[in-house]
């Protein structure tokens, strides 16, 4: 709001006297300068003579709102508006109040009312446009920007914002036209035509729109034109775009030149540049190139798709004869050469050995992870693309893994005996042996051989007990072997060695939370937060989502469901804030012409509710509410009751009392802090704290209708995270409990669709399909036509071959049996279904679980515990249960479960 808005012609058309008009102007000025006390004083002076002056009332309300007096403010603004419905100032303020409450739809309505009265008010138009882009009313945004542009065509930002609106709503051609018209309005020699960051960004933005609409030829011509005019400053992007377009246009020689120039500029470690270069050498088609160029991370073309013998030798020749000679220091180049060689060949072994030796000499802790990207697999379902083997069963059987393990064993042998590498004379320092052991330990970890892995990391710690990284690996191994408490201790020992190392401090915190020691975890976190005020609040302010997710899970395990929900919801709140933070970019980015980055931000924000972190939080909330729904007696309104009804009741009771005590203490501290703090601004933040602390245990959350809440979160997941399997599993779980059989069925179909490329059914889907066949019923009195379709679709769920649930279970029993490495949890689920439906003998079910020992996929500690529970429940399979426990004990030797 500017002073110009301070229309004194108000109070039902009666103008204010001169003195009051001046006062009103000063109110507006004080508001803009954030001198709230003075502003209120001036407003009161007007209201003394004109108590019903609408605009003054509104302005006073607006100022009160800024000082935190929310309710009073809203009432005052409403009163003002009632007294002067024809004032755009009142409507504008009304909109601003809604905006500050984040009620954007209402704010937009109010702004539009204001604009009806004052059609050409730039300030209100701008505020409206901001809200429209925030709410992604792209059509409205574009119209508003058009109005602004018509009013002020001399401002560059107005042109850019209009173009951006067109681009965002999908009118690429229109956007390009707007930019072109803008450029044509410029006079020769204008600064906007000279070489500068802004000119360059605008040109590249226009170019990216051309590319987005697939106009490769035009885009490329435009790029070249820009270069001729010499207005580009971002030469790196320029070259990358050139290369990419030329690949799309299949002009391979030119593309090759572009990527070579990128190497010359120093991009030799950028794997995507290597991929582009290789695509050009091999003349790969535009479509396939597009797909390959999308890949991120340290994988270039030969580790992305299966290449023919000829293609590989072409690339090998190029890389060995030219690239390596040109860039002998490039690690990426050396690494790519390894991926071009045949894993079985001696050449490969030589290359990988020198690569490993180079890196353990330098002491690269991440070498193991780096090498793990070489465990490439391709399955027929995956077409020509590679994926990286991660399951220990697949890793153990992988040729690259076996060869690397052998090489590392030889290196260790040689270092231990002669302090040299095999075939080498140079004496190595002790740290080389250290990193060789470290690598060996990580390799054992990949193969789930934790006992052996710990053996090697112990050697490392024995040799260099001051190495912080070593304790981290040891802790991880101990955790994987089944003892989270000891793992947390181990990390804490490492943390002690370097108290400035935030990473090890955070890892320790995480492990402490997983070991259910949340109090100590908070102490550790507090070491790195601001030292004033409540660390918990500081952690919230810093949006530490990993901590909150772990803490929520910890509370969940401790059956403190209220607190658990609170923490998950804190994560949700962060996402709202992150979404809200866009406001900072809307006007800034256009002004600074960082349009390419701005469009990226807008698109990224559109997808944030589908991010893993949010999905995990929503999932946690849904699962907690469903648990509460399923166990109404065990955990009624508050979790204290739940405590006393547990075993070891007295201990729990004592805990509850202790908690209450702590609560009281916290309140006391807060109150004291409040009393001590007289400052106005600070007391505001205190008040915020107090509001938060009114329900520190989340008891209010527990009182909400459980299924409705779960439904609400499942709906956000369905809307935003449709590509997560867990979304559909949660949706199923919620729908089946709500008696919505059709929606539950749809969720299962969606889940199946997501996993369509896998030959095997996911055990969580299998479990639910069985459950659905048993329990999925339409509401009574459904239309016969609906019933018919429902029954048909329900049968379709069983797949093309099975006609009944029993046939479905039997089909999977046979499929699992025919494929030895079939996943353990799938085996368990099939066995459970067999037992329930009397398919085969109990021994058949029992054998299905154990027949391949632990040489199966998806073996985890929890899956083993579940398998053992099922085995124990089967009559006559005591032998199998004992055998299985022994196998599990071998892998998870530190766990007390076996």
């Amino acid at each position: 709001m500017t002073s110009k808005d301070a229309n004194p012609q108000a109070g039902k058309g009666i103008p204010l006297p001169k003195k009051e008009t001046d006062l009103f102007r000063s109110v507006v000025k004080h508001y803009e300068c954030k001198q709230y006390k003075k502003g209120i004083k001036s407003a009161d002076a007007i209201l003394k003579r004109f108590p019903k002056h609408g605009e003054t009332l509104c302005m006073k309300g607006l100022i009160l709102n800024c000082t935190g007096k929310r309710e009073e403010a809203i009432n005052m603004v409403k009163l003002g508006l009632m007294n002067d419905m024809r004032s755009h100032v009142c409507w504008h303020v009304y909109g601003l109040i809604y905006r500050s409450e984040r009620n954007y739809n209402e704010a937009i309505k109010a702004y539009k009312q204001a604009l009806r009265i004052d059609k050409e008010n730039i300030q209100i138009l701008k505020d409206l446009a901001l809200l429209q882009i925030q709410m992604r009313d792209l059509e409205g945004f574009t119209q508003t920007q058009h109005l602004i542009l018509e009013l002020k065509p001399n401002l560059k930002v107005n042109w850019l914002a209009f173009a951006l609106g067109k681009h965002m709503k999908g009118d690429c051609k229109g956007a390009v036209d707007v930019i072109d018209i803008f450029l044509s309005t410029l006079e020769q020699g204008s600064t906007d035509l000279q070489k500068s960051y802004e000119t360059s960004e605008l040109a590249l933005y226009k170019n990216s729109i051309l590319a987005e609409s697939g106009r490769w030829n035009e885009a490329l011509d435009h790029l070249i034109e820009c270069k001729e005019k010499d207005i580009i400053v971002d030469n790196h992007s320029w070259l990358k775009m050139c290369g990419y377009y030329q690949l799309q246009l299949e002009r391979y020689d030119q593309a090759k030149d572009a990527f070579l120039k990128l190497f010359e500029r120093g991009s030799t470690e950028d794997y995507s540049v290597h991929t582009g270069y290789m695509l050009a050498i091999l003349n790969i088609s535009g479509d396939l190139s597009k797909r390959m160029m999308k890949s991120k991370g340290a994988r270039a073309l030969p580790s992305l798709m299966v290449l023919s013998e000829m293609q590989r030798s072409m690339l090998q020749k190029e890389y060995e004869n030219n690239m390596l000679v040109q860039y002998p220091k490039s690690i990426a180049t050396r690494r790519i050469i390894i991926t071009l060689l045949d894993v079985e060949s001696d050449e490969w072994k030589e290359e990988i050995q020198s690569y490993i030796q180079l890196n353990i000499k330098r002491g690269v802790p991440s070498l193991g992870d780096d090498l793990s990207a070489l465990f490439l697999c391709c399955s027929p379902e995956n077409g020509n693309e590679y994926y990286v083997a991660e399951d220990p069963v697949d890793v153990k059987g992988h040729q690259a893994f076996c060869n690397i393990s052998k090489i590392v064993d030889d290196i260790i042998d040689s270092l231990e005996n002669n302090s040299t590498f095999p075939n080498d004379e140079d004496i190595q320092p002790p740290s080389t042996l250290l990193w060789a052991w470290f690598l060996r330990s990580v390799l054992h970890e990949f193969a789930a051989e934790y006992r052996e892995a710990i053996h090697f990391i112990d050697k490392c710690i024995d040799q260099t007990p001051t190495g912080v990284d070593l304790y981290e690996l040891k802790g991880r191994l101990v955790k994987k072997a089944g003892d989270i408490a000891a793992a947390a201790e181990c990390l804490d020992k490492g943390r002690d060695l370097d108290k400035q190392d935030r990473y090890i401090n955070n890892m320790t915190t995480k492990y402490l939370l997983q070991a259910d020691r949340e109090k100590e975890a908070l102490e550790k976190m507090a070491l790195f937060t601001r030292h004033e005020s409540d660390p918990e609040q500081n952690i919230f302010d810093m949006q530490v989502t990993w901590y909150e997710l772990e803490l929520a899970a910890c509370y969940g395990r401790k059956k403190m469901y209220g607190k658990c929900l609170k923490k998950y919801m804190a994560v949700e709140k962060h996402f709202e804030d992150i979404h809200e933070d866009q406001f900072d970019f809307h006007s800034y980015c256009i002004r600074k012409v960082t349009l390419r980055a701005y469009v990226d931000v807008l698109r990224w924000e559109d997808a944030i509710w589908g991010q893993d972190t949010y999905v995990r939080a929503a999932e946690g909330i849904i699962k907690t509410y469903l648990h509460l729904h399923d166990n109404p007696t065990k955990s009624s309104e508050d979790d204290e009751i739940d405590y006393s009804s547990m075993t070891a009741a007295e201990r729990k009771k004592a805990k509850a009392i202790a908690r209450k005590k702590k609560l009281k203490e916290e309140k006391k501290i807060l109150e004291e802090a409040k009393r001590e703090d007289g400052d106005e601004a600070k007391s505001k933040t205190e008040r915020k704290n107090l509001v938060k602390d009114q329900d520190p245990d989340g008891l209010e959350l527990l009182k909400k209708p459980h299924l409705d809440e779960a439904k609400r979160y499942a709906a956000t997941l369905v809307k935003n995270a449709a590509n997560h399997l867990n979304t559909w599993l949660c949706q199923y779980d919620v729908c089946i409990r709500r008696g919505k059989a059709l929606m539950a069925m749809r969720a299962l179909f969606q889940a199946l669709h997501l996993c369509r490329e896998s030959k095997f059914i996911h055990h969580e889907i299998f479990k639910r399909i069985v459950d659905f066949q048993e329990n999925g019923k339409l509401a009574e009195g459904s239309h016969p036509a609906v019933v018919e379709v429902f029954n048909m679709e329900k049968a379709t769920l069983l797949g093309p071959t099975s006609k009944s649930l029993n046939a479905f279970i039997l089909e999977w029993y046979e499929k699992v049996k025919a494929n030895p490495p079939s996943a353990l949890p799938l085996r368990v689920e099939v066995a459970k279904a067999m037992l329930r439906h009397n398919i085969g003998s109990p021994m058949d079910a029992s054998k299905l679980i154990i027949e391949n020992g632990l040489n199966v996929r998806e073996v985890t500690l929890n899956n083993c515990v579940e398998a053992l529970t099922v085995l124990k429940s089967i009559e006559g399979s005591e032998q199998h249960a004992t055998e299985f426990a022994a196998l599990a004990k071998k892998v998870y030797h530190l766990s007390s479960n076996f």
Binding site: G363, P429, S431, Q463, T464, G467, D496
Partner: protein, 161 residues
């Protein structure tokens, strides 16, 4: 001799635990908490320092300045330790040499540092030889200097500057 490259680094409150590890792996007696506190408070990298190799602490030396009278004072080496796996690579030599260099610097000469000295258990021939190589001379025998180790006697080693 297979020398390895080392860097020196400060001992602070945040990493003093590593000094404890170095000392406990290389010295026969355990030092009280007060010792570590003093080292941290001193904040003097020329007297108390870690030896780093490839980013890890592998050794440390801790000294203090002792006033004899008004005019002269000396540097007293309290502890010197190197992790067992890293011994025989000149790490200890470099640590002591750095202290000798410091003692002969202008800064120390100004405050009248006249010698570097230390105590060594009489049975520790390796240490005596080590210091003699660096120009230290065996001085008087102090009986029953140590309380918990055998033999309890020690020599004083000095290097006049």
């Amino acid at each position: 001799m297979r020398e390895i490259e080392i860097d020196f680094g400060m001992i602070t409150n945040d990493n003093v635990e590593q000094l404890r590890i170095i000392n406990s792996t290389s010295l026969p007696i355990s030092y009280p908490d007060g010792f570590y506190k003093d080292v941290v408070i001193a904040k003097d990298e020329s007297l108390n320092k870690f030896a780093y190799h490839n980013g890890f602490v592998i050794g440390a030396i801790c000294c203090r300045i002792q006033k004899d009278g008004d005019a002269s004072s000396k540097i007293y080496i309290m502890t010197l330790g190197v992790l067992p796996s890293y011994r025989g690579r000149n790490v200890g030599t470099k640590l002591v040499q750095s202290v000798i260099d410091h003692a002969t610097s202008e800064e120390c000469q100004k405050i009248g540092i006249s010698e570097i000295m230390l105590h060594v258990q009489i049975s520790n021939n390796d240490a005596i030889k080590f210091y003699e190589r660096l120009g230290f001379e065996k001085g008087e025998l102090v009986e029953n200097y140590y309380k918990r180790i055998d033999p309890p006697h020690c020599y004083i080693l000095r290097k006049k500057l």
